[in-house]
Subunit: 352 residues, 4 copies
């Protein structure tokens, strides 16, 4: 059994990592950290894990790179941005491989980090080494990485459907719109009036527009795929459910679509590209252009990203829809998928 | 127009008072208080009231009895217990009539207050004067009262169905069980991890058992009705909805019920008593012992309490069910009903 | 009291009309129809209205134009499309004024009706006379109308924010995208597996794309405002709440927006236009370009439409957001607003 | 791999069996039946299982005992009561072991079946052989059984906490009250107006009182444990969530409890009994009498039953609370636990 640690195991992403890793056949959670819960066991903090023996054995400790690096080979950082980098640096120095779920190492440019996160990057020397933790895009690099910067939730729901279309030259790089809906766990486990039950239930609202922080990593990856600097529109909304993201993408085809025939032709090109990129992917489901459309309930509690699309002959646009579980594919599930790659395990281990 | 003030208008009960009183044809909100929002207008704090001209006129001020008493004849206190009493005393001294939605003046005994609320009562001299604000039970006293202690949400859902049965000698005073379900607004608008969306949604849990504070006022009123000291069982649960309380009462008939005939006979006695007490009540709906049962969705956003029952020939018990909207009949709606009585207005004014 | 009837009072829009009209100070519900409930009273079918005396007096009857026209001056049709027209024709012949909540008379062109609704229009001779029931746009025509075709829910959420911008030449008529989220009551009260609780709760899904029926009336009204034929993109989604629509509009400014200054300048033009068109409107709330954004919970149970916007200097786009209660402003509230106009009453009567 | 079939795989319990068995390391789903979906694959009917290769291989077929018995050794029946028995008889004859999730074989007495289910039992000769599928109670019998009648959802949530107390003589057999809350999946996947989203959301209601069908199996098992005929009170309520049951039990201790000391003494006896019966059980979590109380969110998507209690010195009663996931421990999870026993596998296989 390979020993791993989770730093920041008291939030939703951390708890989801615990849920996954307690069931993972090849790893053992050896340490979990939380300033707030230090001294308690996993089972005391999360009664729901009480039927796992390990949950009674593993105590929360204070975050300490030395202790962690002595104990484990791999550490997940489920910490706020800024805080994650502070722990990542000494962990790497001491030889621990790091999977960071924060935004700290997702950007290649410290300037863009400063623009979007409002402060100097705490460890810019690591940015060129960090690998963006989106397995379908960076599988080989992840295998070798010391530091994986796991992709964000919204970015995953946007990039997985968009990158193949850009790389294949099927859509225009500019003018992309992503309209996303997210469940409330995306806001994290924090005591904030805006997220108490009655403020979210029976409601829906946009937020973070027009310049949400996730734009920085989305545009970085789109630009790399397009070979030019891409600027796009991203509109996140909060909707009343626990888990899930639904993204609706408005895309402009490179070919003219103006009637049923050209729409069908373009749709079949889209399908070809998706099949070419993703047909062998265990965690991507392609609904195609007929019948079924992505639905959050069909991906909840799974690591799957579901893709569907429609070509509209009236407007000439391509609509692509994707759904993910924001805690699984948007955070902890994808992180475990990266971990499997780093460990040389089958990618689906512990994730089916 | 009669001028009224709302102290503590930033919580859910206060906001509901604002909603009701902005629409009330005979009163005018002249002042609202909130330490947090002082200086802002009602419309700034609650965008939802922006289509009322008054909402742009009325600013939040700091709670100050002198200012309030100069301005208005009636003040609602939607404040935490303890804090409410501090403001009530000077308001009454200055001649303002007070409707207190907190628990501060519901109990006749300062000893019981101390037992259940853990501190000395801040103004015990007012306890004998305060009238319990449950209109169907204390209508005449409320008309004359200077100080109305509006009944709690759970107590209303329990007392309205139980008092007539006790007063008529239909049920045994001891052995009463009330099992209640409440929506999350009952916990108030407060930033607390236990009430953030994902901790309440897709869940349900008991709390405050076996000795919830509301027991003190429930048992006080049951004892007065029964003419003996009543001890009862009360089990509140939190369920995932915004508004509403459903209470299931387990009651022991005074007569023996052991077959269909005796059950039908007892059920008809129950119906007679309810009709006698409540048939003319505008805000009590009697479902009876057949077909329809109380359902929270049928009372939400109304001041109605819905009553239904079943007599069980197998166990010999009487089951009574009641539903209310906890912010309306359980708090602000009932408070406005009391206010109407105090003002000599038709009781339903502004409440249909 | 003016007598009115509701045909099809058993669905959600019909029930909402009952709720509003029972409280309306100038009208009296004299008849309600339902094939399914004929013979029962309003109170029997809807226990929630049991505290209104009228609910015990008014029985459901079968839909019969002669009976209705004898009884009332105004009839609301809350019936499926196709069925509504069949009743509207004889009602109008007998001198009854009709407010139709279905789609039957919203389109000026029977060809477009056939294209979108899949059958010949049942009464094309009435299309030129029918007035589109969107009060802010057709107030004067509604006052005089015999037949008002109340605007649809999505169309209202899209047209109210878009028409003034088009009429003022602030945005390009083509390229408009409307991405909408709707609560489940929008699907009507029907026993359909896709709408049972567990299929909608903890989920979200697109539907009816890319050519939803409501496009026909939206494009008709946009084209009239723009003076050219408008084709637009409309993507509705189902989200897990009872009531409410949130629409996000992606619009292209007529002027170039490329930095903070030009964005601020354009935003202020947008504000000017909205103030000019809507500042005196009792049911439109303008959030403006700062701080507050539309939120479904701030319009639920009200007839208000809330408008907010952001100009994005990065993409050059205008984002406008609107929220409504789909049963109020999207159906029955707006219908009552139209009725008030037809009756010469203050437009807000019974709607605050 | 042991081959199994699921008859009636289109409902919620059947779908949950598919979810569990696709992931089970020792079995293979060889056949699924559904009259409605015959001819389609699992993946076509349930897109959510599309990332399992088997879901594309296994087609729905019509229910046919001969075909099933040829194909598999074990068949789960997730069919309506009455229908299940019709298929069970020929399956058993052909040598297939049967796990029935319906109520058909839970009762020992055909008379009680007729009383509660309103018709003659279709196969009374099998009643004496069938084993009640509650593993903690009938583990050894289940191992050998040909026909397991899996315990119902409410019964499981009531019997697991109650049986040990009765067997140990800690509580009075008569006077038991169970007040239960259930998520909407408990009503099954059926198109019924009472279960569409807006009729359940933001609501809560009792149903099936005072003589719900599940009383028959609950009282049968309580009577066996008590050694006398037990009659009890059971009140189910529907609450707005997908999965989960919370049961509150009101029990009368055999010893007198009247103060803190006697309450603490009795509570510790209760704990002793639960530890004795359940300490080694992998799927029972004992919260005890302090701090944590059962919460539905802590058992959702798991096979665990969570138990907590309070002894009330004021009323002398014992309150026991239990939570389960109604589709897991209340149906399919418990059925797989039984299957593991029948196959001689570790009981937790595929269920952690």
């Amino acid at each position: 059994m390979i020993k791993v640690a989770i730093a920041g195991a008291s939030g939703y992403a951390g708890e989801e990592l615990v849920r996954l890793l307690l069931r993972h056949p090849e790893v053992e959670i050896s340490a979990v950290t939380s300033r707030q819960h230090a001294g308690k066991t996993l089972a005391e903090v999360f009664p729901k894990f009480g039927h796992f023996e390990a949950a009674h054995r593993v105590p929360f400790i204070l975050p300490d790179a030395e202790v962690l690096a002595d104990e484990v080979e791999y550490t997940f950082l489920a910490l706020p941005h800024g805080v994650a980098a502070e722990l990542a640096v000494p962990l790497l120095e001491k030889g621990c491989r790091v999977l960071d779920l924060s935004a700290d190492f997702r950007l290649r440019s410290p300037e863009v980090y400063k623009e979007f996160y409002g402060k100097d990057h705490p460890a810019p020397e690591l940015l060129s080494e960090a690998v963006y933790g989106q397995p379908e895009t960076y599988r080989e690099q992840i295998r070798q990485a010391r530091l994986v910067a796991c992709a964000g939730c919204y970015p995953t729901s946007i990039l997985v459907p968009t990158l193949p279309l850009l790389k294949s030259g099927l859509i225009e790089p500019q003018g992309i719109i992503a309209d996303s809906l997210s469940g409330v766990s995306g806001a994290g486990r924090k005591a904030d009036l805006g997220y108490i039950y009655c403020e979210c239930n029976e409601s829906a609202r946009p937020y973070g527009i027009p310049k949400h922080r996730h734009l920085s990593e989305i545009e970085q990856e789109l630009s790399l795929a397009a070979g030019e600097e891409v600027v796009m529109q991203f509109t996140p909304h909060l909707i009343p459910l626990n888990r899930g993201i639904l993204t609706t993408l408005y895309l402009n085809p490179m070919m003219e679509v103006h009637d049923k025939e050209s729409a069908a032709e373009f749709s079949s090109k889209v399908e070809d590209v998706y099949r070419q990129f993703y047909d062998q992917e265990p965690f991507i489901r392609i609904d195609g252009d007929s019948g079924i459309l992505p639905d959050i309930k069909n991906v909840v509690m799974s690591n799957v990203i579901e893709l569907g699309w429609k070509v509209d002959p009236r407007t000439g646009r391509l609509l692509v829809l994707s759904t993910i579980d924001n805690l699984m594919r948007g955070a902890s599930g994808q992180a475990v998928q990266c971990m499997n790659l780093m460990m040389g395990l089958p990618e689906t281990t512990g994730l089916m």
